[in-house]
Structures are given as C-alpha cells and as structure tokens.
Symmetry: C2
Subunit: 244 residues, 2 copies
C-alpha cells in the first residue's frame, strides 16, 4: 500500500550499506534509491540510455546461469571481474552495444544487485548514479515521499563513492524547501559531497574500490562513472525487472 506523507515534512536518510536496510526501512512512505557507482548502477543507467528494454537483477551467479541456459543475455561480475562463462560484467561500456537494443538482460554483481534484492520490500525502487544525477533529483522532488538512499557499499562495508552520490542527492534535494528532515547520515554525506564535488576523482584517489579497479585496469570505467547527468533515464524496479 502506498503511504502518503505531509508535504513540507519530507525526510532524507542514507543507508550506508545493505546490511543496515532493515534498520532504516520501516514503511512504504519512501522512495528507495539504489546506488552502486562503481559500477552496477552506472552500467544500468548506461544500458537504458542505449535502448535496453529491461534488466532483471539476480543475486547469485547460479541464478544468472539458469537464465542464460534459458536463452537470456546474462551478465555477471564478482570482485570487479567478469565471471567465467559470461561475456559481460558491469562495465558501462559493454552496455552501449547496439545489439542490446530492445533486449532483456539478466545481471548479477558483487554489491549492486544484492542491494536491489534487499530493497524489494519497498514499493518504489529506482536506480541512481552520477550519470543520471539530475534526473534522479528531479524524480525525487516530484514524488510526495521521503527518500532513502541505499548505498551498495563493498561487501556490506561503507564505501566512499556511493556515499558521495548519496551526498550529491542530499545536497540538491536540501535546496528544495519541502525536504526539511535531513538525518545525520544525509548531513554527513552532503558534507562529503560538498568537500569533494570540484574534483571527485582526486577525493576518491585513496578509496579502496578505486584502487581495486585501478589494479584491474579499469581507470577508463572510473572516469566514465564520475560524469554527472549525461543521461536522463531513471530506471525503476517493476515486477521482477528494472524498466524505464
């Protein structure tokens, strides 16, 4: 059931890792934004901007294999690398392929698709990344709902890049006077973003996942994922799949 809330009393909270979701999520008065900047949610936004029809997120590699055996296009990433037996992982560049236009894709990743799985209790789940930042802010501004920013993190640990994106959303939404309730988590994330926004690459220089991706020669992906608002699509979870 949809629960409406009073205009002018909207809250913004950040859940820094999926493990805390049950602590933060209590009722259907919020939109949940799933965030996995490096790279699942950036890849998902890229896919829809390039005409993919839907993305079915699954938690386990074995689920992805089952879909693949049924003829689906399937993508799987673990610890930054493409899982053996799959052609795609979560590099945004893979999702620009014109052959994927109009297709349904099954996706499993280390953190991002697990965060979506956790969030399934919510009525409204959308996908956020720097690539569709402005569109996400616009979407949230227009909904008469609280906002719960769910960072995928890294294996249930806090991570910098997802928290920065949560901070960017908190920063722009808090300029909107209907959001009066910034939780401690969104105040902290916003302060981080304000410190980092002029040069996010430099701020993330020492972050653990950036180092991990650098070791895997994924610097090009990192730079791509840190671009702001190049796409206007806001993927939403409907039924068992993400769609726009």
């Amino acid at each position: 059931m949809e629960v409406s809330i009073q205009e002018n009393e909207r809250k913004i909270e950040v859940c820094f890792t999926p493990a805390l979701f049950p602590v933060y999520y209590s009722s259907n008065d919020c939109v949940v934004v799933v965030i996995d900047v490096f790279r699942a949610t950036s890849a998902i936004c890229t896919a829809f901007a390039h005409g993919v029809n839907s993305i079915i997120p699954v938690s386990s590699v074995s689920d992805a294999i089952a879909y693949k055996n049924d003829g689906y296009i399937a993508a799987a990433e673990r610890s930054g690398e493409i899982v053996e037996g799959f052609d795609m992982g979560n590099s945004p560049f893979s999702y620009m392929d014109p052959n994927l236009k109009g297709k349904d894709i099954v996706l499993t990743t280390t953190n991002g698709t697990k965060a979506i799985e956790r969030a399934k209790a919510a009525d409204t789940i959308i996908i956020g990344s720097f690539l569709n930042l402005e569109a996400v802010v616009d979407y949230l501004s227009k909904k008469n709902k609280n906002v719960l920013l769910l960072c995928a993190g890294w294996k249930n640990r806090f991570n910098l890049e997802d928290s920065l994106f949560a901070g960017a959303v908190s920063h722009y939404l808090s300029e909107n006077k209907t959001f009066t309730g910034l939780a401690d988590s969104s105040i902290a994330a916003r302060a981080l973003y304000r410190e980092a926004k002029e040069d996010m690459g430099a701020f993330l220089k020492n972050s653990s996942h950036r180092k991990r991706l650098e070791r895997l020669n994924l610097e090009k992906d990192i730079n791509f994922c840190l671009q702001k608002s190049i796409y206007t699509e806001v993927p939403e979870f409907k039924g068992n799949a993400l769609k726009i």
Copy 2:
C-alpha cells in the same frame, strides 16, 4: 589469542553502527574503540577522571536492577532520560560526585553499553570520547595493532557526533606514518572532522541527537562532552568491567 601485525601496515576502520560490527571485526588484530559521545563514553571517561574504581556495563535495565538489588550503585539511561527507579543516567556531571570515588558502578544506556556488549569478541576494548581524545590517540599509536573505531550510533543508525570523534582519531593517527591503511570509512570520518573541527557545536547544530538532548534541556551536557582532551585516562574493558 593476540595477533601481531606488521609495523608500518596498520589499518584504521570505522564501524558506524554496532549492527555492522560483525562485518568489520574479523580477528584479534585490532583494538576496538567504543564511542558514544552523547553521552555514555563521555560519562565513563569523566567517572574515571574522578576516581571511580570500575564500571560494569550491562545491556538491559533488568540486569542493572539485579545489580542494584545486590547493593551496587547503578545507573540507567534510555532515550536520553534517567530510567525510573534509578538516581543516575549518563550525564557526565553525575559522575563527578566525590561519594563515587573508589566505587564500582553498574551502567546501562540506550546505545553505548550495547556497543560494548557487541565488541566483547575483541581482546582489547577501550573507551573514547572527545574528553580523552589525545590519550586515546597516544594509546593507539603505541599499540602494534590495527584500529577499529566502533560508533554506538543511535539505535543502530549512523550518528554525526560519534562519527566526528572517529574522524578526529583518524585525523591524528593518519599523521602517524605507521598507519598507512585508511579505509573508506576512516577517510570519510576524517573529512567530516576536518570540516567540523573549528566549531563542532555549529556543525552538530542540526544533528538528531543534539536536537533530542536540547529538547531534554541537556545543552550543558552537550557543551561539556565537546571539550577536547581534558582527561588523560583511557578506560579499558577487563573481565566484566571497565577499569583504568
């Protein structure tokens, strides 16, 4: 069993809420610092600076009542207020009483004592607050261990004041060249502290717990707890009690 680590490779991590402790704590290679700035760990530091012999942290009010019935001095706080039937909660000022000198005190609080309970898997648990900041940094510098800063938070949510203290410790320890491994969580907490350090009161103005304490007329406690390094004691958990 004590696990020694290589000098020059020490890590600093922040666990922003007790619910995440199992994610961050894996082995006895770290010192766990329990942090509940408003007000449990500030009160504990104050107690030892005023000559208390020991503090026995317990998780539940019923445990505290049992000790009280056995003749112990017992203190209990829930949601910022003294629990009915107790003379003391977690206001630092209560622990300056000369009658408490040399005494053992049983304490239960909303978040702080629960964080200590969670941390019990670790060999070395110490108590941190702004009141003993320098002493804590000095203690951690001298131990050949990693550091896990455990924020008590608010009912398993992230809170600003505990994260700020974790950031202060990360800030000072990262000046020490033996700490090369700052996790994303400690980079974020340190950035927050650097932003807030000139006027922590102003930075915390909109924090949820500060507002909660203001409503309870505890402004005097807040200002007291934000003083830096006025005490030199580092309480440590030994057996079933905190001691210095």
